[in-house]
């Protein structure tokens, strides 16, 4: 067993786990943050995407020990002062989710896209979120939501 110390959504955590434990399992089981989902465990579907030291990363193909000392962001940390984040608000407004299972990974991925490209074209949005598979929405609602959120986030910067 090894000790893992890390910050998630600004809060310090410490846990002990086997060296082989996946980061996503550590987040869900040891930290109790079940908003991050497991969809494929081989790094393709993107449901498990989190912020890892400020960049989007797949927590299903990382080990918890790799996150020792890291700062993580998960979907649970997006709300501010009891209000939905503008991107969450846009997803609700534009029907960017149905079953909601890919949504946490989709939100984090879209935030990462908007961080690096604050005013993406539709094509760039599609390419940016193509790292996450959604089987419900046909992606249109998600594209509309990201497009609508982009200027709001850009102006808040």
């Amino acid at each position: 067993m090894v000790t893992v110390r890390l910050k998630v959504n600004g809060v310090a955590h410490e846990g002990r786990c086997e060296p082989r434990k996946l980061l996503v399992d550590f987040i869900r089981e040891d930290l109790g943050l079940t908003g991050t989902h497991v969809g494929c465990e081989h790094g393709i579907c993107g449901a498990c995407t989190i912020m890892f030291n400020g960049e989007a990363a797949r927590s299903c193909i990382m080990l918890a020990v790799q996150a020792d000392g890291a700062e993580l962001g998960t979907v649970e940390g997006l709300m501010r002062d009891g209000k939905l984040h503008p991107l969450q608000e846009a997803f609700r407004e534009h029907h960017g989710l149905q079953c909601g299972f890919c949504t946490p990974g989709m939100l984090i991925t879209a935030l990462d896209l908007l961080r690096t490209n604050p005013s993406p074209s539709d094509r760039e949005i599609r390419e940016g979120i193509s790292a996450v598979l959604c089987r419900c929405t046909g992606y249109q609602g998600i594209v509309n939501a990201v497009r609508a959120a982009a200027p709001i986030l850009a102006s808040g910067r």
């Binding site: 086997e18 082989r20 434990k21 869900r28 943050l33 079940t34 908003g35 991050t36 989902h37 497991v38 969809g39 494929c40 465990e41 081989h42 393709i44 579907c45 449901a47 998960t74 979907v75 649970e76 997006l78 709300m79 939905l84 969450q88 997803f91 609700r92 407004e93 029907h95 989710l97 149905q98 079953c99 909601g100 299972f101 890919c102 949504t103 946490p104 939100l107 949005i125 599609r126 390419e127 979120i129 193509s130 790292a131 598979l133 959604c134 089987r135 419900c136 929405t137 046909g138 992606y139 249109q140 609602g141 998600i142 594209v143």
Partner: protein
């Protein structure tokens, strides 16, 4: 209804806030019981083999392992599942003496955590005696093919020849007869949340409680109880509020419910199993791969006289209920939107060494319309007619509703020509044709496809019996089957707050939102004033055999139950108000959330007022009125009748309509298909929430596109599975998703209180047809007709290269 303030509005979803903030409650999120142990399933690496023995010693010796069960325990302690055919096929929840596909469960190891369980699963030794393999459904029917189930004697699980009208005469009298072979791939809608089951056995009460993301139909509950040797009221199914997508696939989780429940019962610990993606692709469920032979008889003016379908549906190593729905689910709408009266269907259900099949979005209709609409274009081509014209000529007309199809379907309402014309107009069809002509002149491969579909919603359980011979169904001991029901309860609490309770299992369709809209309209409230509880529990909810969320049923039958419950409750409030006001019931009405005199004069009683009095002072109730302000309604369709002696059955209850136009361009160098325009027009009756309806159409279309272009659960000729990851099984991403122009025409259903029909499967059933037709049209200069999906670039490129070569050759000979 008082007035429609909320129905028809794109009300934002109440589900979203929790799902957007990571607070959903999916099966893997919250262990409902303490000390849960974790299961890993040992699966067959071979497609066909005898099981000669198991060695569990190394697995059981591993620290942290609680125990294991094998097929031997399954054989000893469970019964096989009943299957939908009479052939002696013994389908258990795991392999007992023989494995019949790669990935078939053979044992379950239970340990303190999943990591250890998987370590131990690797240590289980199974002694296999390999057997010869067959994966192709046509080859499987050869007399020389290896037989999977010796008791059956062949790989034919069932065959029905259904004859409606006089097809032989139609073909004799035809000016034109067309024949074609089609093949449809095996694909599954692969929800991003996989299967999950948690089982707890209480040996004192003798109750087994199972939490799972099962979506129904709940006919599988009594079947599973029988398999486990439990009374129905000793097996409790609970479904969490949130399911991470399903698209029909999670209806086939029930064998795993039995398997994990058995592990919990044998090992006396609560057991949790979450399927991983590899397991899902390997062995969850998919639609069937089908080989179809189609014949069409027509007059030279384009009037269709009759059709013949010959199908070989590949259900894999066993037949798992509700198969062979792959053949019979669309019985009532076999003819689609067309008027022809003569039809022969020869449906064979074939077993091969592939994984098992079941409902997948558009269940059997993607196959049906891919073939039928392909034949329509071939007819147009043969007669030199426009594809739109040949369809127009054959459509059921608006004055023919309700329309009885030759195979027993009862189309409740519609205006098919209007929907087609709207689609053509939205697509600017004539202009598209002109642009196509120009593009062709410059050597570009631009094509336009059409597809029409009758979109069936709310399966009538009775269709399943079409798989059985009429002689079998005529036996006195045979119990006919029919029905399509849903239930809802609405209650008003002491301070006047309203809660609606459902027994549905939504997987992203937004039932809570839709129900809050309906109840708000019925009771004069705002949607946010209505709390909707949606967590199926077979011990507490009112449910029946057909309950569940599948076959596009909620928009039709579920919403009807909600509306009826609200109306029952409203009638009670009026009766109570009349008693308090000492006025006749007829002089009162329920309007804007209160019981009021119709005259508008005098006092009114609000819901809150009535609730307070009714709860706190039961003496105030009229004599004979049941206390408590609640109403439960069970809505059932009276048009859901058992299959008749001529194999006619109204296989669904409400029938929508879809017309689509798609324009594509095929790249001559890479064979890549670019969608230039895609228009889809739907008639699903009253639309309750247009935003949600549109979301269903987008999602359905992309499922159809996946099956048409990318997705195939592929096997090699030795039965080895080739697409076990999302790197091999290609799911469309946002970059592949097309822009869609959506429009609606509304023909309310006369059968539902709100006039609504289902829409959930929607364009999943038309896209394979429309894009295949568009690509065929694009490649018409090369003489290529698409008759096989998926149209992968390599397949298409090969066909184009071959056509170019033979074209060049014939040019040279000239």
């Amino acid at each position: 209804m008082s007035e429609a303030r909320w129905i028809g509005k794109s009300v934002k979803r109440v589900e979203d806030a929790r799902l957007l903030t990571g607070r959903g409650t999916y099966i893997d999120d919250h262990p409902p019981v303490a000390n849960v142990c974790h299961a890993a399933i040992v699966r067959s690496p071979l497609p066909h083999a005898a099981i000669r023995g198991y060695d569990l010693s190394a697995a059981l010796a591993l620290e942290g392992v609680v125990g294991a069960i094998t097929g031997a325990d399954v054989a000893r302690h469970t019964k096989p599942f009943s299957v939908g055919v009479t052939a002696p096929i013994h389908y258990y929840c795991a392999a007992t003496d023989r494995v019949r596909f790669v990935g078939e469960p053979v044992a379950v190891v239970v340990a303190k955590n999943r990591y250890v369980a998987e370590d131990a699963a690797d240590l289980v030794r199974v002694d296999y005696g390999p057997l010869p393999v067959v994966v192709d459904p046509e080859r499987a029917l050869d007399t020389t093919a290896p037989v999977l189930h010796e008791a059956v004697g062949s790989n034919l699980a069932g065959n029905r020849r259904l004859v409606y009208g006089e097809p032989d005469r139609a073909f004799r009298e035809a000016d034109v007869v067309l024949t074609e072979r089609f093949s449809f791939p095996k694909y599954g809608s692969t929800p991003i949340e996989t299967y999950g089951v948690i089982a707890r056995w209480d040996p004192i009460d003798g109750v087994c409680t199972v939490w799972s993301n099962f979506m129904g139909p709940f006919i599988m509950h009594p079947l599973t109880a029988r398999v486990l040797g439990l009374a129905e009221n000793k097996l409790r199914f609970i479904v969490p509020t949130d399911i991470g997508g399903s698209f029909g696939i999670k209806s086939s989780i029930y064998p795993y419910i039995a398997l994990i429940a058995l592990a919990a019962m044998r090992l006396s610990v609560p057991v949790k199993w979450i399927e991983d993606r590899r397991e899902h692709l390997l062995a969850s469920s998919s639609g069937t791969d089908r080989v179809a032979y189609r014949e069409l008889a027509a007059r030279k003016d384009g009037t269709i006289l009759g059709m013949r379908f010959k199908w070989l549906d590949n259900v894999g190593g066993y037949i798992r209920s509700p198969e062979p729905g792959c053949s019979f689910r669309p019985t009532g709408n076999f003819v689609g939107p067309y008027r022809f009266q003569h039809l022969e269907v020869d449906a064979s259900v074939v077993m091969t060494n592939k994984s098992l099949t079941g409902p997948n979005r558009g269940y059997a209709c993607g196959h049906l319309y891919f073939e039928t609409e392909g034949m329509m274009d071939r007819l147009a081509d043969r007669l030199g007619l426009d594809p739109a014209e040949v369809r127009r000529k054959n459509l059921v007309q608006p004055d023919q509703f309700p329309y009885r199809t030759p195979s027993g379907g009862l189309y409740d309402s519609g205006d098919y020509p209007a929907v087609l014309e709207r689609a053509l107009q939205l697509a600017r069809y004539d202009e598209l044709r002109r642009e196509q002509a120009k593009a062709r002149a410059t050597g570009r491969y631009v094509g336009i496809g059409l597809a029409l579909a009758v979109d069936p919603s709310v399966s009538n359980m009775g269709y399943v019996a079409t798989a059985l011979d009429p002689q079998f169904r005529a036996k006195p001991e045979y119990l006919p089957k029919s029905g399509a029901v849903d239930a809802a309860t609405i209650k008003i609490d002491p301070l006047g707050r309203v809660i609606a309770i459902l027994g549905t299992t939504p997987q992203g369709q937004g039932h809570q939102t839709v129900v809050s809209q309906i109840v708000a309209d019925e009771l004069g409230l705002a949607p946010q004033d209505v709390t909707v509880v949606d967590e199926m529990d077979t011990f507490t909810r009112v449910w029946s055999i057909s309950s569940g969320t599948y076959s596009s049923r909620f928009g039709s039958v579920g919403t009807s139950a909600v509306a009826l419950a609200a109306r029952k409750l409203k009638a009670k409030l009026v009766e109570y108000g009349a008693h308090l006001m000492e006025l006749p019931v007829a002089s009162l009405e329920f309007r804007d959330g209160a019981v009021r005199p119709r005259s508008g004069k005098g006092p009114s009683y609000s819901i809150k007022d009535l609730a307070g009095r009714a709860h706190w002072n039961t003496e105030s109730l009229p004599e004979g009125m049941e206390p408590a302000l609640q109403a439960t309604a069970v809505f059932g369709f009276t048009v859901a009748k058992a299959v008749d002696a001529q194999d006619r059955v109204n296989s669904s209850n409400t029938y929508g309509f879809i017309a689509e136009v798609m324009a594509v361009e095929v790249d001559p160098e890479t064979a890549a298909i670019q969608i230039l325009r895609y228009v889809t027009v739907h008639d699903a009756g009253t639309i309750i929430n247009p935003m949600i309806a549109e979301g269903q159409i987008y999602g359905g279309a992309l499922h159809g596109l996946g099956g048409a272009l990318y997705e195939e659960l592929a096997y090699d000729e030795h039965g080895q599975f080739l697409t076990g990851t999302f790197m091999d099984y290609l799911v469309p991403t946002a970059s592949e998703a097309p822009q869609i122009d959506i429009a609606h025409i509304v023909s309310p259903s006369p059968l539902t209180p709100l006039g609504s029909k289902g829409l959930g499967e929607s364009s999943s059933m038309t896209v394979p047809a429309v894009i295949a037709n568009a690509v065929s049209d694009a490649l018409a200069p090369l003489g290529i007709w698409i008759n096989e999906l998926p149209m992968t670039p390599s397949k298409l490129w090969t066909a184009m290269a071959r056509a170019c070569r033979s074209h060049a050759k014939s040019e040279g000979q000239r």
